[in-house]
């Protein structure tokens, strides 16, 4: 007997995703490259344009994208499942809503179970875009997302200008491409900042170009190292985040990158 075919989640997950126009995974190789900020800001920017947007934080051990949007609380139970919390038009689901500040020491198969449950039970309703914030690396969370979100999906690969970050991102990019995920391109974060009118590039340059060349994908653009965006994220002030240079630059990149996917 095939137990996976008798698992209620194998029925529920495809139904949930049938209601979602496009799923954008945000991945990287290294941690600390600004993936969660980019994920949360992407959902926020698109929602501000009238797109029905959701944000799913699959960084089980270090969830932060809900905090960036200043979303706290516990999801309510509805007839069709768990109702995501909402901020400025973005529906948000995160393990943080359940575990609060407690650690989530779940490994291997347990992570897959947890992700299956979250995907099966979350009632997003109809969405045009679901942004999935993946943790660094190529572990269970990424593999589960690839397995369980099989259609109308794509991925943005985030790196800093550091050669080390790009080298690790290459592995993630290779896996995604091998698993037939549409890698929309490379997004360079923390590219430069202005000091006394001069542009400073603290992490060098050229690694994102090299990464996109090696993966044969587009370089989608470069995002500034913006202390105002960082502060808005720390404070959980999405309305401030939307007004930053970082958000302005990301908004332009998303215009070009997601126009086809979002119709």
């Amino acid at each position: 007997m095939s137990w996976s075919r008798l698992d209620y989640r194998s029925m529920l997950i495809p139904k949930r995703f049938a209601e979602i126009g496009y799923t954008l995974m945000v991945a990287s190789g290294k941690g600390g490259v600004g993936k969660s900020l980019i994920s949360a800001s992407t959902a926020l920017i698109e929602a501000s344009r009238g797109v029905r947007a959701g944000l799913l934080d699959l960084d089980l051990h270090g969830p932060s994208s809900a905090a960036i949007l200043g979303v706290t609380g516990a999801p309510a139970e509805g007839e069709d499942g768990l109702i995501p919390l909402e901020k400025m038009g973005v529906k948000v689901m995160s393990v943080e809503f359940f575990a609060e500040e407690k650690p989530v020491p779940v490994g291997g198969a347990g992570k897959r179970e947890l992700i299956r449950e979250l995907l099966a039970l979350t009632d997003w309703g109809k969405l045009d875009l679901l942004v999935v914030d993946l943790p660094p690396g190529t572990g269970d969370e990424m593999l589960a997302a690839i397995e369980l979100i099989p259609e109308r999906r794509g991925c943005i690969l985030v790196t800093t200008p550091s050669a080390l970050s790009a080298r690790v991102a290459f592995r993630a990019g290779r896996l995604l491409k091998d698993m037939k995920v549409d890698v929309l391109g490379v997004l360079e974060n923390m590219s430069a900042f202005s000091m006394r009118g001069e542009e400073v590039k603290p992490f060098g340059e050229g690694a994102a170009e090299e990464l996109s060349r090696r993966l044969q994908v587009q370089l989608l653009g470069k995002l500034p190292l913006d202390p105002e965006a960082s502060l808005a994220a720390d404070l959980g002030k999405p309305e401030k985040l939307l007004q930053t240079r970082f958000a302005e630059a990301l908004s332009e990149i998303l215009d070009r990158t997601l126009s086809l996917a979002l119709g």
């Binding site: 209620y8 407690k102 989530v104 020491p105 179970e113 947890l114 449950e117 039970l121």
Partner: protein
């Protein structure tokens, strides 16, 4: 009440399975894991109501409790509901009710203090037997 969604998913999964196998379901058995603290009576009641008008309407079904067994990978102890869930306050049990893997966030192994758990059985609701004809 996410039990409603889970039971709907179970009915659909069993119906789909029978369709794929080209049979009719005579009987099926559902196990309700202790860890998620579902009410067995509620699951039974939901099944009774939701099978009406489906291919499973004539099928017999049973709903039974499944003991929670959680292995601590640090010391090898096998732990049960009374050690892990019973001592917790209601709000924490509620979180495990939604996501059983969070038992490691809220409970520690009473033997060694570890939190490196693997759920061996009694996780949530699952179909354990389907008889077709």
């Amino acid at each position: 009440m996410h039990e409603l969604v889970i039971v709907s998913g179970i009915i659909e999964a069993v119906s789909n399975y029978a369709k794929q196998e080209g049979g009719r379901v005579v009987r099926f058995k559902v196990a309700v894991g202790e860890l998620a603290s579902f009410s067995i009576e509620l699951i039974r009641e939901l099944l009774r109501n939701l099978v009406k008008g489906t291919e499973l309407e004539e099928a017999e079904f049973s709903v039974e409790a499944e003991k929670a067994e959680v292995r601590c990978l640090s010391c090898g102890a096998t732990l049960g509901f009374s050690e892990l869930i019973e001592p917790l306050p209601e709000d924490e049990r509620e979180m495990i009710h939604f996501l059983p893997e969070l038992v490691s966030s809220f409970s520690k192994c009473p033997r060694c203090g570890g939190r490196d758990f693997v759920i061996e059985s009694g996780r949530s609701v699952r179909v354990v037997e389907v008889e077709l004809e």
